[in-house]
């Protein structure tokens, strides 16, 4: 590998990793506050992809512009799913939530199958294959835009978590639910809000990946897995760690692919996942809670 291809691969990996981070942060936030591993996370991403797909195909709305619709829609969908399916089992044993989220995911992916059929589809925008040169490195324009939006979204989320009353309430609920209640925090509302935010992140990530990825009804399951890898790399429930985890996974995958293991792209992520579980079970970035 020459230096130039090395840089090229690294840049591509970081750009993809940013979007992985966005998927992972949603999963991590939901786990941190609700203690639920959301097995339907990738399916929400697929719903986001199809939403942008329909808006583009039938209404000619640019995928990036469609975020303005997808974000509020995702917020409502996430809140509804939490209220209807997860709030009633908030005090049930943990495996109940696993079954519930797996079931929600199956319903979502099969609804997509019913509506759109199984064949992979894609959209083609004027900029889908355009690139910009940065010195010796060529960067894909859609990935660059996606990365910029990801940074903005994650930045906004970080600001909310760090500086606002809602953000402090979310972190407090993650750290000690009863103590948060005693400060006047309606923790049932916080759980709904967090699931809603997580769903928005997953669906927005789906929109951002649409210009560079085929969409099919079960595309989500791969991403549930990736989000899980990102989350474990960063430490379960550690939101900042998920950013590092996402970039790391994106880079590892594109490096592996560049070294001739293209077909093993997903396997590389899982190997990294197993190694971290073996040697750093609480994640690469130390502490394990939000």
């Amino acid at each position: 590998m020459t230096l130039v291809t090395g840089l090229q691969t690294l840049a591509g990996g970081i750009l993809t990793g940013g979007v992985y981070a966005m998927v992972g942060i949603g999963l991590s936030l939901i786990f941190g506050v609700m203690r639920i591993v959301n097995f339907s996370h990738g399916e929400f991403m697929a719903v986001g992809m199809y939403t942008a797909y329909v808006l583009f195909r039938h209404f000619g709305i640019d995928p990036y512009l469609s975020l303005l619709l997808v974000i509020p829609a995702g917020g409502l969908l996430g809140a509804a799913v939490e209220r209807l399916f997860l709030a009633p089992i908030a005090r049930a044993p943990e495996h109940t939530a696993i079954l519930m989220t797996v079931g929600t995911g199956l319903i979502l992916s099969n609804s997509l199958l019913f509506l759109f059929g199984a064949h992979p589809q894609t959209i083609f925008t004027s900029y889908s294959t355009s690139t910009v040169r940065l010195g010796p490195v060529t960067l894909s324009v859609p990935l660059l835009i996606s990365f910029a939006i990801t940074v903005a979204v994650i930045g906004a989320l970080g600001w909310v978590l760090a500086r606002t009353d809602l953000g402090r309430a979310i972190r407090a609920t993650a750290q000690n639910r009863d103590a948060a209640e005693l400060q006047g925090v309606n923790t049932a509302f916080v759980r709904t809000a967090v699931f809603s935010i997580g769903t928005v992140l997953a669906m927005a990530a789906g929109v951002l990946l649409l210009p560079v990825l085929y969409v099919f009804p079960t595309v989500g399951s791969t991403f549930t897995l990736k989000a899980f890898v990102v989350t474990v790399l960063g430490g379960m429930g550690n939101v900042a760690g998920a950013i590092g985890g996402g970039i790391l996974l994106g880079t590892a995958e594109s490096m592996g692919a560049a070294l001739g293991a293209t077909g093993y792209r997903d396997a590389i992520g899982l190997v990294a996942f197993l190694l971290v579980l073996l040697f750093r079970p609480s994640g690469l970035f130390g502490r394990s809670r939000a």
Binding site: A169, R171, Q175, D178, A179, E181, L182, Q183, G184, R289
Partner: protein, 235 residues
């Protein structure tokens, strides 16, 4: 009558802990709830603050029923709690812990003033305002838990096992602070195992035994009572 608990029954699952204790707190009092481990003191406080749903009896605060309300609504009604084991948010700074104490919309407007007040009562907290709650000493965490509770501008402050695990000198200091808090116009309900120091500052006290009120009286009376001295003060 500020707080009136009548014939309260409560427990965890099939295990009943409270068998109908009744107690009253007048505005401006410091009332103590004493008793040995497992007598039901903390359970009573959890029922009062809404963390636990009573199975029977009534709780009235300022003339309105309280039992069955979720904890975040109880705080809004004016009862703040310093929970057993302090329960500060370990990964948040001292300042963030305090800000969370004034999370309720009705407390947000007075936020800056409340925080100044807390820092003037506990200058140690002001020095450590940027430090994570989990890195404080036990005594400092207790100060933070009390300060956090005051941030919600409560009319009744319920304090659970404040002196547990603290050095005697520090505990004495905090008991004095409770006196100051009362003089600021906040009524105090104090749950304690440290009977001697508690009875010195309490106007009245209830002794809980196996989920029932076994004795009640003024702090001074109970402090001189032979039975109490033998059973609870080990004198």
């Amino acid at each position: 009558m500020m707080l009136e608990v009548r014939d309260l029954t409560c427990g965890y699952g099939d295990v009943q802990v409270l068998f109908g204790p009744s107690l009253q707190v007048e505005k401006g009092e410091i009332v103590a709830l004493l008793g040995s481990n497992g007598a039901g003191k903390t359970t009573l406080l959890r029922a009062l603050t809404g963390l636990l749903r009573p199975t029977g009896g009534t709780i009235e605060f300022e003339g309105r029923p309280l039992a069955g309300l979720p904890a975040h609504d109880v705080v809004d009604r004016g009862i703040a709690c310093v929970p057993e084991g302090r329960q500060v948010f370990p990964l948040m700074t001292v300042e963030e812990n305090l800000l969370l104490g004034s999370y309720l919309p009705r407390a947000r407007s007075g936020r800056a003033r409340s925080m100044d007040k807390v820092y003037s009562v506990f200058p140690r907290l002001a020095e450590r305002r940027r430090q994570a709650g989990g890195t404080l000493s036990g005594g400092e965490q207790q100060m933070l838990a009390i300060g956090r509770a005051l941030m919600s501008e409560p009319r009744l402050l319920a304090v659970d096992e404040m002196s547990l695990g603290l050095a005697p000198l520090l505990a004495q200091e905090l008991f004095q602070v409770l006196g100051e808090i009362r003089s600021l116009g906040v009524t105090v309900l104090l749950v304690e195992q440290n009977a001697q120091q508690t009875l010195r500052i309490a106007d009245r006290a209830y002794v809980l035994e196996s989920g029932r009120v076994a004795l009640q009286g003024t702090g001074a009376d109970l402090l001189l009572d032979d039975d109490v001295r033998k059973a609870y003060l080990a004198l």
